[in-house]
């Protein structure tokens, strides 16, 4: 199933208008849910669940936005990944949105400080609304880039 989606994604990736997103998420149910809905909404998405893979994809280029979960497997942690992305010259310009159910106030503040554009709580929204927000943010980012 995941492979199917990835195949579909790679087909869409070549098209110019498509938005390309990277989601870091370790729950297979959620990966399936968001990848499917985002694809329907015209956001091509690839999923990873660790820092190393994330950086490989981002350094490869072509991603308009990153959706980052916080509580991940083992020693993996979304906050650390955020730091790594923002410390790397080649990736720090990519907009990052925290996308999680972990709502600790301090963590939200910390994420904003580290350069996260937004903090979306999964249970407070729907996949469609998230896709919409992604589009908005990417459009804003592109507009500011042109100016």
């Amino acid at each position: 199933m995941l492979n199917q989606i990835l195949k579909l994604n790679s087909k869409y990736m070549s098209e110019e208008k498509q938005i390309h997103a990277l989601i870091i998420e370790d729950d297979p149910d959620q990966v399936m849910l968001y990848l499917t809905k985002f694809m329907i909404e015209g956001v091509t998405t690839i999923a990873t669940d660790n820092e190393w893979d994330t950086m490989q994809y981002l350094l490869g280029g072509g991603f308009d936005i990153v959706l980052l979960d916080i509580l991940l497997q083992g020693k993996e942690n979304g906050m650390n990944i955020l730091k790594t992305i923002k410390e790397n010259e080649k990736t720090k310009h990519i907009p990052v949105v925290m996308f999680t159910n972990y709502t600790k106030k301090e963590v939200q503040d910390e994420a904003k400080k580290l350069g996260a554009l937004d903090f979306i709580v999964k249970s407070e929204t729907t996949p469609k609304m998230v896709a919409q927000r992604i589009k908005e943010l990417v459009a804003e980012d592109k507009a500011s880039g042109k100016i």
Partner: protein, 606 residues
Amino acid sequence: MFCTDISEPFLLIFSKTVPQLLYYSHIPTAIIALMLGLFVYFKNKNGGSLVSKLLLFISLTFFVWSVFDLILWTNIDSRRVMSVWSIINLMEMFVSISTLYFAYVFLEKRDTPFKYKLIAGVPLLAYMIFIPTRINVPGFDIPNCEAEQGKLIYYFYFLEIFFFLWLITYLIRKIIATKKEERKMTIYFSIGAVCFLASFSGANVVASLTERWQILQYGLFGMPVFMAFLAFIIIKYKAFNIKLLGAQALVMGIIILIASQFAFIQNSTNRILTAVTLVIVAMFGWWLTVSVKRENEQNESLKQLNNIIAKQKDRIEKDKETVERANQELIRLDKAKTEFINIASHQLRTPISVISGVASMMLEGDMEKMPMEQKQKFYQSVWEKAKKLKVIVHDILNATSFANKKYSIMDQSAEMIDIPEFIGKIIKDFEMEVEERDIDLTFSSEKNIPKIKGQKEYLEEAFINLINNSIKYTPSSKMNHEVRGKREGNGRGKVAVSVRKDPNNPKNVIVEVKDNGIGIPEEAKPKLFQRFSRAQNAVNMYTDGTGLGLFIVKEIAEGHGGKVWFESELDKGTTFFISLPVNPEVDVDIKDHITQDAKSNPEVKF
């Protein structure tokens, strides 16, 4: 036979034909000595220690000696004179020996060794044997009104000198051996003791050698000197554990000395002057005593006050510590609670976000576009998340409510449970999971395990929690999306569950859950069974734990009259034990149990 040199005495000792200085030298000194001896003896808080007994003995023998000496001076009956004459030297010997003994005990603060007693006692005994013989007193000298000196007197001189030298040697060695304050005290004491014996015995020896008995009277004044030193030591170093007022002793001494002047004053002018002096001294003395006493009492109450203040301060410090500790515990608990709420809300939100996400897609008509197989996967995920949500809600509600008798046995629904069979069934439910995780889960049981009375649903929860923990926190070659951490090195992850009778208590059944997992770090051990408590290595391995599982296990075990404990070594593994009584005593009131727990434990638990 009666002497004719002087007249018959009045009341045994009072005679007008003897030198009046005699009374002045004998009576006050004897009385002062006796009073001091009695005072120390009766005021001694230790209830008559050896030192105070010895001091009393010295003063008593000295007193007796003084009286005897007066008898010898004043009496004319030869029989009386001779019998007193024969034993007066024994009294003197007693004074010498007991002074020596006293010095030793006073300075060493313990009794003398037996060998010293033997060295002193045997020659003394030998002397005493010869007292009633003619060697002591061969006859009576009528013209001088004296007994004749026998050969024994030389032995007596020898002993006196021997004891005197012994005392001096001992004191000198003691002075050399001691230091600082104690040396000072030893020196004062030595001066007093030596002056006393030197003047008293020395004068006696010289007097009987020269037969000039007047010398004796001057010798007697050594006694007050010694007593003065002793009084000084008592006050200064609080020897004898009494609070003797120096002023009191001094005043009494002066009054006695002045009063005794009446014994030999001849003219009436002097008598009046002495009487006036005595009254003035007495009044002044009384005033002095009272003011010193008052000051002393004030000092004492000040000291007591200081003591009370110090004790209060101590208590306040302790209270402060307790409050501080309780506060720390509260802060820790508060942090744990906040952390729990963060985790718990994450736990609750995750399934909700999936369920509502899928539902929103249904409303938006996305499902209709999907192939059947994919639709099925979406529905499955909703089902799984709903189930998970149920478990989380159950856990949180269980742990956060103290609904009365939450986990204890209720008679109407308690069952007799065959533990091996019961656990066997639970283990089966784990088969899928251990296969997925690639962990060996084994079960063994002793035969003839008695059935135990309990609540099935609670015991099931306790055993599931323990086995689940062991599986979760034992790394294996495979991970799943919930549990992280891969086994390093050789060997497979193993969880072994076993049931046996408690060897210490045959009426109890022990269930053991043993694993070779990550183990429990030392710092997490004491708080393991508290709510929201999670070890750091457990958090790393499994993010989502609530820290409630073991708390629930403990409540269930105790609710069944049993207990739970563990043995663990970091990176080697952990073994949990639950001991349950076959027939638990009437149900335990959990609420009561917790209140008791809080009362008996100064650390605020919850």
